[in-house]
């Protein structure tokens, strides 16, 4: 195997040689976030917004470009790059396309971010009907690159019923077919992350598109219409090999992240409805995968409501040095930072409030917040955390109906990487309530140079 120095000298592919190397990259100057009109009452397409994140710029903290999708009703949600640090040794690859799946339309938009990073353009569309026809999949979610190719998790079959599967797309964005050889007895899909040195992929469970797209009926959890398991895959064989049944501790296990260190087997998942962090790991190569609950956010009583309010921990992210774990509680309204130096024993080191239903932070930097902290992205150096407030249009409409007139916001949190701690940056806020076509809702954010939820090292 080539030494790191050799790799530096010979390669010019995307990303970075290692997580340590990524942390020394220049600070992000542009952010891309999807912004929705689906479900808002405004008959306009969803779009990719470019936000100026350069504090020296006169348009700092403003939307400087909007790339509209060709039609309405996609519900853009998560996004992913065509290439990441897993291709760092391949000089023929570059990170120049961002893939934007539409959860409701099934279309995948491939956006060119390299020709003009400030003003990305639509490169091609992987047609949603063609995906249904060729692969029997609908409800796209997570995009990961896979060497020079791409896999995307889909939550449903062509009729919106679970479990769905994985779409395999080649580097020219043509449909190859289904990626997995078997779904085993997996009932639901959602997010996934892989750690190639251990030949492992972990996938999580939300629900069938026909269950979650119309909104959240809490009663359906008891009818087992929502997930409560994690699945361990043999990554090379492309089939599941172990189920971790989380039960009541793991209702709606959503985002899955491994440590960035490619040697580590430790990873984390947030169980949204249980509002728990699930830590998983493997002690010995080839052995059982284990899990434990390491953070448990208690439900809060709301004075006027009969049912105690869960935090709804819908997202999670690990800093590039694997030292801090960030999680949200969308309904309570807090963002938390945990020191996970010992992944079995996280220590709460920071907490800030943004919106939420408990009334702790109705306003941030002079902007009224509808929604709570939901998606977030961390700078490579770990110091700036960008947080948006919308979850999914129908779920927003249930819990935060005022988001229709107020739109979403993007907030920046300054993170203390030496001693722990978080504080809301007073100079940065992007109010999507002020968008030219009316209030829109911002969701997942990425940066042109890679970020803390894109890169995997081989």
């Amino acid at each position: 195997m080539a030494s790191a120095a050799d790799a530096e000298a010979t390669c010019c592919g995307p990303g970075y040689a290692s997580p340590d190397d990524a942390m020394t990259a220049p600070a992000e100057k542009l952010l891309y976030t999807v912004a929705l009109y689906t479900g808002t009452g405004i008959q306009k397409p969803d779009y990719l917004a470019t936000v100026d994140a350069d504090p020296e710029s006169s348009t700092y903290s403003k939307v400087i470009h909007r790339l509209e999708m060709p039609g309405i009703g996609d519900e853009l949600h998560h996004t992913g790059w065509n290439a990441c640090s897993s291709c760092h040794d391949d000089g023929s690859m570059s990170r120049n396309y961002l893939l934007l799946p539409g959860v409701r339309s099934n279309n995948i938009y491939v956006v060119d971010t390299a020709t003009d990073p400030k003003a990305p353009s639509l490169h091609t569309i992987i047609d949603g009907d063609e995906i249904k026809e060729k692969t029997n999949l609908s409800g796209p979610h997570t995009v990961h690159c896979l060497g020079s190719e791409i896999i995307i998790s889909f939550l449903g079959d062509a009729n919106g019923e679970a479990p769905g599967g994985y779409l395999h797309v080649n580097e020219d964005f043509e449909i190859v077919g289904r990626w997995e050889n078997s779904m085993g007895d997996i009932p639901y899909g959602y997010d996934f992350w892989y750690q190639p040195r251990h030949n492992v992929m972990i996938s999580s469970e939300w629900a069938a598109p026909n269950t979650f797209m119309p909104g959240f009926d809490l009663e359906e959890v008891g009818h087992l219409k929502y997930g409560r398991r994690l699945h361990v895959w043999d990554f090379e064989k492309r089939e599941p090999i172990q189920t971790m049944y989380l039960g009541e501790d793991g209702l709606l296990p959503l985002e899955v992240k491994f440590h960035h260190n490619p040697d580590s087997t430790h990873g984390f998942c947030c169980a949204a409805l249980s509002s728990n962090v699930i830590h998983f790991w493997q002690d010995d190569e080839g052995g059982e995968w284990k899990w434990e609950k390491t953070v448990d956010v208690e439900n809060e009583l709301h004075p006027e409501w009969p049912i105690p309010l869960p935090g709804v921990m819908s997202a999670l992210l690990v800093s590039m040095d694997d030292k801090y774990l960030y999680v949200n509680n969308w309904l309570h309204g807090d963002m938390r930072q945990y020191d996970i130096t010992d992944p079995h024993n996280p220590v709460l080191t920071g907490q800030v409030w943004i919106g939420g239903l408990l009334g702790k932070a109705p306003e941030v930097n002079g902007v009224e917040v509808a929604g709570g902290p939901q998606m977030f992205q961390l700078s490579l150096d770990g110091k700036r955390l960008y947080v948006t407030t919308s979850l999914f249009s129908t779920w927003d409409n249930q819990f935060y109906p005022e988001i229709r007139t107020k739109g979403g916001v993007m907030v920046m949190i300054d993170c203390d990487v030496e001693n722990g701690g978080m504080s809301i940056n007073e100079d940065f806020i992007v109010d999507f309530g002020q968008e030219p076509n009316g209030p829109s809702r911002c969701h997942e954010t990425r940066y042109p140079g890679g970020d803390c939820t894109s890169d995997i090292w081989l």
């Binding site: 996609d74 519900e75 598109p209 229709r404």
Partner: protein, 126 residues
């Protein structure tokens, strides 16, 4: 019982209002769009609720829909991407008609008979 007909008259009561003659065999989303009515949609197969409208008079066949629960159906909601008219209808369309579509489940739980049709307990059974 509605008589058999090739076309029905659909009255849109909000959003500028209008009356349109539509094909009885085709989904209302398709036929109203052809008349120039600007309607929201997402999946176009009855699974995502984005196109929901409130039926205030008349009847539709929406047997293919899987998005609405029984409470939403009882409140008059129909999903236009699969609903076909079986009589003259009056509709309120778009997000303006969604006042009763969304509820906070921690504030306002569903009764067992109000769940989606495939899992609801029939009224009268316990």
């Amino acid at each position: 019982m509605a008589q058999l007909s090739d076309t029905w008259t659909i009255t849109i009561a909000n959003q500028g209002s209008g009356r349109f003659s539509v094909d009885a065999q085709r989904p209302l989303l398709d036929t109203l769009e052809e008349h120039g009515v600007d309607l929201p949609y997402g999946c176009r197969y009855g699974g995502c609720i984005t196109c929901a409208a409130k039926l205030t008079a008349g009847a539709v066949d929406q047997a293919e829909q899987v998005a609405l629960n029984n409470r939403q159906i009882a409140n008059g909601y129909v999903v236009l991407c699969v609903a076909r008219p079986t009589s003259d209808c009056t509709l309120e369309v778009g997000v303006d008609s969604h006042d009763k579509l969304y509820r906070n489940p921690f504030l306002d739980p569903l009764e067992p008979h109000e769940l989606k049709p495939d899992i609801a307990t029939p009224i009268g059974e316990s």
